[in-house]
Amino acid sequence: MTNPSEAGDLRLSHVTKRFGPFTAVDDLSLTVPQGSFFALLGASGCGKTTTLRMVAGLEEPTTGEVRLGDRDITRLRPYQRPVNTVFQSYALFPHLDVFENVAFGLRRRKIREVRSQVERMLALVQLDGFTKRRPAELSGGQQQRVALARALINHPQVLLLDEPLGALDLKLRRQMQIELKRIQTEVGITFVHVTHDQEEAMTMADTVAVMSAGKIEQLGRPAEIYEYPATAFVANFLGQSNLLAGEAAGQSGGDVLVSAYDQRFAVPAPRARADRGEVFLGVRPEKLGLVAGEADVPAGHQSVRGVITDSSYVGVSTQYLVRTGWGTELAVFAPNSGAAAPLAVGSEVTAHWSPEHAFVLHREPGEGDRTTPVLDTPDAVGVVS
């Protein structure tokens, strides 16, 4: 989004890929603006790698079209595309040393001054001095950086990264995330980054697309998706949500009226994906506050009553489970800011939230409440500031 021109946008339109009877990618359309950092997020097997492979030319779409700017590249061979890939498994050439691995693309295109370019690239990924080593003699993180250098040195229009940080430990992973983002900003190449790690996607990308079963569930800026998910899948895949089953009874005065468990809730219409029929009323755990009684609920807030059944201290916050009258356990993340004393398991509480923080999603008939169990990783929440 740094570049308003559409000249180099990557565009997939109605792309479908079938393996025999199995549809891996299903009528997928998306546009990645030139120079942007685009993250593709989704559960294992949802078709992320297949999508990348079609962009790289390693797989041909069954139907649909892949365009780069105004060029149709759908049927071009991989070596004819200005696209490079950092593979899920690195796929470094074991018989070549680091230098020759990085130089491979330049040599194939008969480009001169290989040495200076390779050296500059290795300096960029902080691997100068490793030129004579073979891939087998490098650590996982170093191999990953060689794979990155090997792709980047070609200055492709689009760089595809297939879970390049998957094999790294947490610390190195964070370090490489910062590094990747820095390099992307520096070279201004379009990055399409596939990851399992939602935090990684949200911290690095300009645009995030959440995929499920070969389709895109939602696409947008990280904060947009997190604050106002489009589907129940997204609400619980990206972070965690308390989703209560209810019925919507249309709009009134700019609000959608939802009734659930004999209570009525009004949610601002711009935060409702449906205003009639079966819906979920959703609130993120960190948006819930806990008070002792209904009298303490701030004015204008909505609330439900319950009993604390579990509390786990995770440092930056305390994560509670609150069992409601009808048996659903809501997740509540209370910041450990020192403002409130910790609450004991068994105490009666009222959970409250501001209507602006709630959202209304479409629900399949018959589906019950959905809350995911409290995660014990503090990283899982609070990534969007």
Binding site: P78, Y79, N84, F87, A91, F93, H95, F104, R108, N154
Partner: protein, 267 residues
């Protein structure tokens, strides 16, 4: 007594290992020794007197050098042909899906499993019924045939162990299919092909049974030794055996040293 038992307990694995090595290398040592021996009579194998004459006068016995040369030629030609055919076949079997692939995979083992006697006689029947004159050409055809299977199996194992994504990575990095083969596939499969070629050569060079059926009047080295056995084997045969062993040893050492040097360069 106790200490001896203790010593045996501590060292029996080593002792057995040394005995196995001795068992393996004693015959070779004998051959090497005999190559420097002047036998007291034609039919005796006793160590009589040290001499280098067998080495200097290698072609002394009639037909010996011709037979060795013939075997080397056949081995070389059979190796080249079998390695090329077998490598192509291994690529087809490992990389492409086609009808009859599973059956081919199975059938390729058949020549290795067939007793050589059976193969020799059936080839003989084939050649005579086809009206081919037995000799150099029929030997060559037979050798190529039984070497191909070994090449296919060896190269295919190497290919199966190679990550297909490496070829995709090469293509992604602007290598055309031909460049991908030349720069990535071939270098990675080459050790397998070299191993297959060495195997093919040694199989061809010392084959006796199949050759014996299909040679007509042509005499290869194994057949020469067999024939000489009736009259007493000339000591020069031991020279050939020792030289073959030395070449094999050098090859093994060379590959070892190369691997070692690669490791050392990094440190």
């Amino acid at each position: 007594m106790h200490r001896i038992r203790r010593w045996v307990a501590d060292h029996w694995v080593l002792a057995i290992g040394l005995m196995v090595l001795l068992y393996l290398f004693l015959p070779i040592a004998v051959v090497a020794g005999l190559s420097f021996n002047r036998p007291s009579s034609r039919l005796s194998y006793d160590f009589n007197e040290f001499t280098t004459e067998n080495w200097t006068n290698l072609c002394g016995p009639a037909d010996l050098c011709a037979a060795v040369g013939r075997s080397a030629w056949i081995g070389l030609l059979a190796t080249v042909a079998a390695t090329m055919l077998g490598t192509l076949m291994a690529f087809a079997l490992a990389r492409h899906r086609f009808r009859g692939r599973a059956a081919t995979n199975l059938l390729i083992f058949l020549p290795m499993a067939t007793p050589e006697l059976v193969m020799g006689t059936s080839l003989l029947a084939l050649f005579t019924s086809a009206g081919l004159q037995l000799g150099f050409v029929t030997i060559l055809i037979a050798h190529i045939m039984f070497c191909v299977s070994f090449v296919v199996v060896t190269v295919k194992a190497r290919l199966a162990g190679m990550d297909a994504r490496l070829e995709e990575a090469a293509m992604d990095l602007y290598a055309t299919p031909a460049q991908t083969f030349r720069r990535v596939t071939l270098p990675l499969v080459l050790p397998g092909i070299v191993a297959a070629a060495l195997l093919a050569f040694s199989l061809s060079f010392d084959d006796f049974i199949i050759t014996n059926f299909n040679s007509g009047n042509t005499v290869t080295f194994p057949m020469y030794v067999w024939g000489a056995n009736q009259r007493g084997i000339p000591p020069q045969v031991n020279v050939v055996g020792t030289a073959m062993f030395a070449v094999a040893l050098l090859l093994v050492l060379a590959t070892n040293v190369r691997g070692r040097r690669r490791g050392a360069r990094v440190a």
